[in-house]
């Protein structure tokens, strides 16, 4: 059996020693998974991320990244394994040009100049911002600023990429572009974790979904399965995407699968059902 790249083992976390934020969390994430993490504010998502990045260490239990306990690695060592894209790109940008921003991480790894340049160029190309290489990052649109942050994370060549609310404040175009990048990175072999409140985005782009509620894992499974658990989701006020809701309402009346996650899926199923009905009618006539 393959070893998980992230292993969260019996983790409790208490702020100030007594405010419980995580309780007995057990999660294994394997190489090249694409996983959505959802839950309300205060559910423990940020605390969990900070534990993954080594910014916090578990009060009880342990977090292993590539098999190594986060207590034994510095934050800098972890940053080479895990890239972290913050919710607000502006809090992560500081250089006066895009290429300097993207090159900053590899420079701090002490890599040779040539390698730094190659990495920066590849990272900019991966997200399509090479044309902005000499532009001041904060003068870019919000969508492009998010891409600069992703590129600066990619330049470190981490296998694991964690996106925290990557689409907050983005318009639909920005949203689509960022998610397309996430999908492409996944196809290239990266392990992707996406923390988000956007359910249709989770439905469309992730294979697996973890639902946190009050510091505990409420659900963890295939995204398709998780969104059928409407009763459990209600506990934490999570409403599945409209197509999934609709499929569940039509389930008994039209014998439609309750697991549809995208418009295309449900649309095709309805068309197929309509066609077979028409055929039956014709035969009957």
């Amino acid at each position: 059996m393959q070893e998980p790249v992230i292993k969260i083992e019996n983790v409790d976390y208490y702020y100030h020693g007594n405010v419980k934020a995580l309780e007995n969390v057990n999660i294994n994430i394997y190489r090249n998974e694409i996983v959505g993490i959802i839950g309300q504010n205060g559910a423990g998502k940020t605390t969990l991320l900070k534990n993954l990045l080594g910014l916090l260490k578990p009060t009880r239990g342990r977090v292993l990244i590539d098999g190594i306990d986060t207590r034994k690695l510095s934050v800098a060592e972890l940053a080479v394994r895990e890239g972290f894209v913050l919710q607000n790109p502006d809090r992560q940008l500081f250089a006066d040009t895009v290429d300097k921003e993207v090159a900053f991480g590899p420079q701090n790894l002490g890599l040779p100049e040539e390698e730094i340049n190659i990495r920066a160029r590849e990272a900019m190309e991966a997200v399509g911002i090479e044309k902005f290489s000499t532009v001041y990052p904060l003068s870019l649109s919000k969508g492009d600023r998010a891409k600069v942050v992703i590129a600066s994370v990619l330049a470190m060549k981490p296998n694991i990429i964690i996106l925290d609310e990557p689409t907050t404040g983005q318009d639909y175009l920005g949203c689509m572009q960022i998610m397309q990048i996430a999908r492409k990175l996944h196809e290239q072999g990266h392990t992707i974790l996406i923390v988000t409140h956007n359910m249709s985005l989770v439905a469309e782009y992730t294979d697996r979904t973890i639902v946190l509620c009050k510091g505990k894992v409420l659900l963890d499974g295939a995204t398709r399965y998780v969104f059928t658990q409407t009763e459990v989701l209600k506990e934490t006020y999570i409403i599945p995407p409209q197509v999934t809701q609709l499929a569940q309402r039509l389930r008994n009346k039209l014998d439609i699968s309750p697991k549809a996650l995208t418009v295309e899926e449900l649309g095709d199923e309805i068309i197929a059902k309509l066609n077979s009905r028409r055929k039956k009618k014709l035969v009957a006539q």
């Binding site: 907050t168 309805i270 028409r278």
Partner: protein, 288 residues
Amino acid sequence: MNSFEDAHIYFESVSYKYPNASINAINNINVSIKKGQFVVLMGANGAGKTTFCQLLNGIIPHSVGGMLMGTVKVAGLDTKHHKIAELSQKVGLVLQDPESQLFTGSVKSEVAFGSENLGIPVNELRDRLEWALKVVRLEQFIDRSPSALSGGQKQRLAIASVIAMRPEILVLDEPTSQLDPIGSYEVFTVVKELNQKYGMTIVMATHHSEEIAEFSDRILVFDEGVLVGDGSPKEIFTQKELLLKTWIREPQVSALANYLKQRGIDMPEFPITVEEMEKYILELFQYG
């Protein structure tokens, strides 16, 4: 369409350019909004939604400067000739990030601040405070520090501090974009109530098409500063080409109806909610 007579908000040939900008942020906008309407502004970032919002309470042009052409009237006042202090009693503006709007040490003083500055007598002030906190359901937090509230509570507090000034028009610029699902739901519920129960005219910029589909009367679509769409949610969400061009995401059920239509299946009517779509699909199977 653009009649001045019963307009609560009235734009005539409005164009505006920010200081030092080379192009207009909005261009030749003509629109009139009736009292009690719930109007949603949609469009990509940079399309002109925020500019439109800030024109309504006079921040543009009074604080921001720049070049304003044409006429903006709110509740009968020409914004060019009235100060922000005066306009703010007619138009309340709630910003995207509640943190940027809250600054005092308690919920009570936050809500009272605006009205205090209007010189409202103490008794009246107390009534307004009570009313505003009740509407946004924060009565029990009256003595709490705003920083100890959740995101949704903070945004509701920002709404309370604005409605305590008793505006006739409430303008909200992407009020839920930073909130979790519960927080968004709470804010939408409060805004809906202000519209339906208190008859407040609502102008809200948002990308959340599914939440607004049910209770907004009208959607204005902006694209690069130009008003390119104006109609009921049903009228706007059927226009697939307009949606694609302006990067607007329709509710998923409307997307499904558009998907089926492209494949030769017409719904009895165009759906914008899950309930409607369920009903129409069942009809389709019954008679189709």
